[in-house]
């Protein structure tokens, strides 16, 4: 790792005062100006520094800021948790287990027990993609400000199957899949104060901005994550498929949140993870479910609808069928688990 300075931020305000760029910005302008970036758990940032992809001049540690590691739930305000809540903290929360099953499942299957104890939810939403060309300092790809996408012409078995024209990197967070399915929001705090951004607008597709994955600006940090309350009609499920059962990022993951009136589906949200540069809602498939009793046949129709329009690359055509099958499975799971 390059040598860097280190400072522990005592408060959000001081962290914002001290930082001058996000990690994606630090990567792009690596050579031109000294970057002061924030870290929480550090598991993704240290990886990027070790690979020489970012060379920050100063790390601003957020991990000791009081109050950012709280998790609360109530029937009116829903679930709120600070960016320093670890993945393990989310996984082990009884409230999450009881009310947000898909989120619990996504937490329980992320990374390893060791990393879940370290990695924070703020960091999880801010982490960079895992494309092997992006992660290689030898390849100056589009995401690194270059002009070539090596994945489109090279090895792409784990890459995206939707919107792959600019950069087929997939978003690495499987928790984001579940958070979007629950219609989550992120609170960003910057010099001008706080703003609430729905997760559907928080992530930027590679068409919108290939060099950064979120709308977070140079001096903004995540200060809260909010999910609306659930009710007795809410059913949810999440399933992840990886090359290995543990550690690996998703090849495909799907989260489903249904509102059920008896056997009839009133409302549905279906989200794909590891399918595109952002967690991807499948609205046409959702529409198929709405107002109808959820049978196995209907679940299969919705699943087929959900993968319509996929444009797989040379080596990842298998992911279309995988997503289709997982979608059917996860709809039926959501209906069954109650």
């Amino acid at each position: 790792m390059n040598r860097f300075e280190y400072v522990q931020a005592p408060s959000v305000k001081e962290a914002i005062d001290m930082m001058n760029s996000t990690v994606p910005e630090a990567l792009i302008k690596k050579a031109t100006s000294p970057a002061y970036v924030v870290k929480a758990g550090g598991t993704d940032l240290l990886d990027l520094i070790k690979e020489g992809l970012v060379e920050p001049a100063r790390l601003i540690d957020l991990s000791k800021i009081p109050g950012l590691d709280k998790l609360t739930y109530d029937n009116k305000a829903g679930l709120q948790f600070g960016p320093l809540v670890t993945i393990a903290g989310l996984e082990n929360s009884e409230e999450v287990k009881k009310n947000y099953r898909a989120l619990h499942e996504s937490a329980a299957h992320a990374a390893t027990p060791q990393l879940r104890n370290m990695a924070t939810m703020g960091g999880n939403l801010m982490q960079r993609p895992r494309c092997w060309y992006f992660r290689s300092s030898e390849h100056k790809c589009r995401k690194k400000g270059g002009f070539t996408c090596y994945a489109q012409i090279g090895q792409n078995q784990y890459h995206g199957i939707f919107n792959t024209n600019v950069c087929p990197c997939v978003h690495p967070s499987s928790l984001a899949t579940a958070l979007l399915a629950f219609d989550g929001q992120v609170e960003l705090t910057g010099p001008q104060g706080r703003r609430i951004v729905p997760l559907s607008e928080f992530f930027l597709s590679s068409e919108e901005n290939v060099t950064q994955e979120t709308v977070a600006e140079s001096k903004e940090i995540i200060t809260n994550i909010i999910l609306p309350p659930v009710d007795a009609s809410t059913r949810s499920a999440f399933v992840k498929m990886g090359q290995r059962e543990s550690y690996d990022w998703s090849i495909a993951d799907v989260a489903v949140v249904l509102k059920m009136d008896g056997k009839r589906c009133r409302d549905a949200r279906i989200v794909f993870g590891a399918a595109s540069s952002v967690p991807l809602r499948r609205e046409d498939a959702e529409a198929l479910l709405k107002g109808k009793p959820v049978t196995e046949k209907l679940a299969m129709e919705a699943a087929t609808k959900a993968v319509e329009g996929a444009t797989p690359l040379k080596h990842n055509g298998y992911k279309v069928k995988l997503f289709e099958n997982l979608t059917k499975r996860v709809i039926m799971q959501a209906v069954a688990v109650g």
Binding site: M1, N2, R3, F4, E5, Y6, V7, Q8, A9, P10, E14, M18, G42, T43, L46, D47, I49, K50, R58, L59, D61, S63, K64, A88, A111, T112, P113, Q114, L115, N117, M118, E245, S246, Y247
Partner: protein
Amino acid sequence: MKNPSEEQRSMQEEKGVSRRAFLRGAGLTTAGTVALSTGLLSFKLESPVKPPAVLGPGEVAVRFVLNGQEREIWVEPRTTLAQALREHLSLTGTKVVCDRGSCSACTVWLDGKPVNSCMALAVDVAGREITTVEGLSQSGTLHPVQEAFIEHDATMCGFCTPGMVMSCAALLNRNPNPSLEDVKSATSGNLCRCGTYPKVFEATLAAAKKMKK
């Protein structure tokens, strides 16, 4: 008889620097730790005029509790906890393999929870408690999990063993009656290329039984 850490603790309490007070100060900021080592105990984070201290990039003092004893090391902020343990404290039981958090050979406990020491900075653990595989045995007596690993022949090449032992012992701390599934889940981050998992599961379940007696 007191164990060394208790002895040290009571010595400090006599001196008026309780361990608790130290942790509180140092837990807030490593600047606090540096201040402590230079005698500037009055440094306060709340002070609105004083900006937080910027440390490094040269060596800075980091104090933390290692295997029950307070230690101070001088490291650059870029030093990982794994490097600090192996290269600055000569505790080479903690292994570094992938150095990216993928294999968990470097597993230690941070405040009792298993973490990857290769993906934490040494400065991040100031004021906190670290337990390494060397800290599991008590005055020459191996931890029941270590005993069971020997009895059940749970090591093959042995390189993943310290990390594996730390995961299994942490499991028994939080769950004295683990099922096979619990052990599998607890070791799901520990990569063993030899494939000695069945023996690890056997050993851990046996150790759990033994510890209950």
